[in-house]
Amino acid sequence: MRRRLTRSAAPYGLIFPAGTWLLIFFAIPTVLMLSLSLQTGTVDTGFRMTWHFGEYGQAFSQYHTYFLRSLQYALVSTAIMLVVAYPLAYWIAFHGGRHKSTYLLLLLLPFFVSFVIRTVAWQFILSDEGLVLGTIKRWHLLPANFHVLATTTAVVAGIAYNYLPFMALPLYVSLEKIDRSVVEAAKDLYSNRRDVFLRVIVPLSGPGIFAGLLLTFVPAVGDYVNASILGGTNNTMIGNIIQTQFLVNADYPMASALSTILMGAMLIAIFAYARTLGTRDIQEYV
């Protein structure tokens, strides 16, 4: 009798510390941000709950261009990542041979350099006087007024670079899992190489594609590091606005409203994903 009791209590004892930590510092803050967005006041006078929904109207009317821009940048860079990463993941999974783990380590190598420093390195590469662009310009292969830094191209390329491994790894995992005999079967049934790829391999790697899209699109929408290091004044994303409102202007209600909207949109995406494909899958990919 006693033994059974301790057994059923054991899992709760194990998850209690982490569960409490996540409840206080992850779950509750999310709700709190919603409440903060409905308050009014300033840092000096303090904030009071007034159920003021005005921030949301203002957030949409004043900042919709930034929301749309972030969405655009994220969509374009995610599409680029999928196109760039798929052949690579395919090659490692099907032709990597004995060196698969080496290739995977190479794929992860950029993560050993800090995210900010990686982005700064791109600033150096793309700068007008930098090693790459500066040299090309000195040879007069490009017009003098050709710039990359502080343009949309630089920001989208930066995002696509920084999150590429998050796309490539889930793709690799799902391609690796494909039963080779299914591919053989398709070939035996007179499928040509194009059909094997489009009608067998791509559909079977579907979960990996979805996981990759989610794992790159979500951080890309909220990103502000690439825009502020590589972009110009015309490339401000919604992340930059939220960051400024929170940390520079201390306009907490407005900042909270903006991030609540962002989180709401993301939650819909995450929930839709969890409903259709389950949460188990994505955990295999991270």
């Binding site: 059923s8 899992p11 709760y12 194990l14 998850i15 510390p17 569960g19 206080i24 510092f25 992850f26 803050p29 709190l32 903060l36 904030f47 760039v84 052949p87 690579l88 395919y90 090659w91 783990s101 290739y103 380590l105 190598l109 993560f111 050993f112 350099v113 800090s114 900010v116 420093i117 990686r118 700064v120 390195a121 600033q123 150096f124 590469i125 007008d128 090693l131 500066g134 035996d188 989610l214 979500v218 951080p219 929408v221 909220g222 990103d223 502000y224 590091v225 290091i229 960051q243 940390l247 907490y252 989180m263 993301m266 994903y273 969890a274 949460t279 994505i282 955990q283 295999e284 991270v286």
Partner: protein
């Protein structure tokens, strides 16, 4: 070549592939590896840059910031690595936070992984979804909502709040990593230990722990890397404190001292060394 030969030797299958496709295949065979090599090279480009710029001379005598232009090779910055006091302090803060938050997050996350793998209990699904949401949520939202909590409670931001934030985002990663290793775990080994008279604690310490230790180590490495690298969540909860990534970000506006690239290089080499050591260790265990 060898493929063609085995085909000659083995009795030819009824439906042999048509010969004309073979020539085209040989040419296309180079495309995919070549492309993959290019992508990997592209991923490496910033790393080469960071290592290279750590050796770049600077033009200005007084303002010691790295210049975009290549001015010649020097080892000065390695010799004068710790001569920017703020940067050194920021790096120390980063190491301190990474070390402490890794220990706590690894402990808490491993316990959750143990609970999720071995027990079916009410609330399992909730825990699962919480971990999933924590990983899938954008960093800026995690950072901003945690700041909302501290603002509401009137907690001033500093070392402690950074530590809290880092443990918060690392727990889920630790759990997922450890759980992946626990899946192939053979329970009969534990049962054997208990049949031989070992109590639950002894069983855990002498049988379970050694078996899952590589997983815990991998999780701790991941947590350490994520912590030392984190920018967004840290920026929201740092107050006046500066960590290494925060300092570098701030310096992009005024000019970056070459020491940043040297530190970046050293952290990179350290991480790669640990990763390789981990792989070698596991290979040895398997064989």
């Amino acid at each position: 070549m060898s493929a063609a030969r085995t085909e000659e030797l083995t009795p030819s299958p009824v439906f042999a592939p048509a010969p004309p496709t073979r020539r085209r295949r040989r040419w296309t065979r180079l495309v995919l590896p070549g492309y993959s090599a290019l992508v990997i090279l592209y991923l490496m480009t910033p790393i080469f840059m960071i290592i290279l710029y750590g050796f770049n001379k600077t033009g200005h005598a007084n303002r010691v910031t790295v210049s975009y232009r290549w001015q010649g090779f020097t080892l000065d910055w390695y010799r004068r690595l710790l001569e920017v006091p703020d940067l050194t302090a920021a790096l120390k803060t980063s190491l301190l936070i990474a070390a402490t938050s890794t220990v706590v997050a690894t402990l808490l996350g491993t316990l959750v992984a143990l609970a999720l793998v071995r027990y079916r209990f009410r609330g399992r699904g909730v825990m699962d979804f919480t971990l999933f949401a924590n990983i899938a949520a954008p960093e800026i939202v995690l950072g901003a909502s945690l700041l909302a909590l501290f603002v509401t409670l009137g907690v001033s931001r500093g070392l402690l709040t950074i530590f809290i934030a880092h443990v918060m985002f690392n727990i889920a990663y630790v759990t997922v990593t450890v759980r992946a290793r626990l899946h192939g775990f053979d329970r009969s080994l534990e049962e054997a230990a208990q049949d031989l008279g070992a109590g639950p604690w002894t069983t855990f310490r002498r049988v379970t722990l050694p078996l899952i230790f590589p997983g815990i180590l991998a999780a701790a490495l991941l947590a350490f890397a994520l912590s030392i690298d984190d920018f967004v969540i840290t920026q929201f909860n740092a107050g006046q404190q500066t960590t290494f990534p925060l300092w570098v970000y701030g310096a992009t506006r005024v000019g970056i001292p070459p020491q940043v690239f040297v530190m970046g290089t050293l952290i990179f080499l350290f991480g790669v060394g640990l990763a390789i050591a981990n792989i070698v260790l596991q290979r040895r265990r398997v064989s």
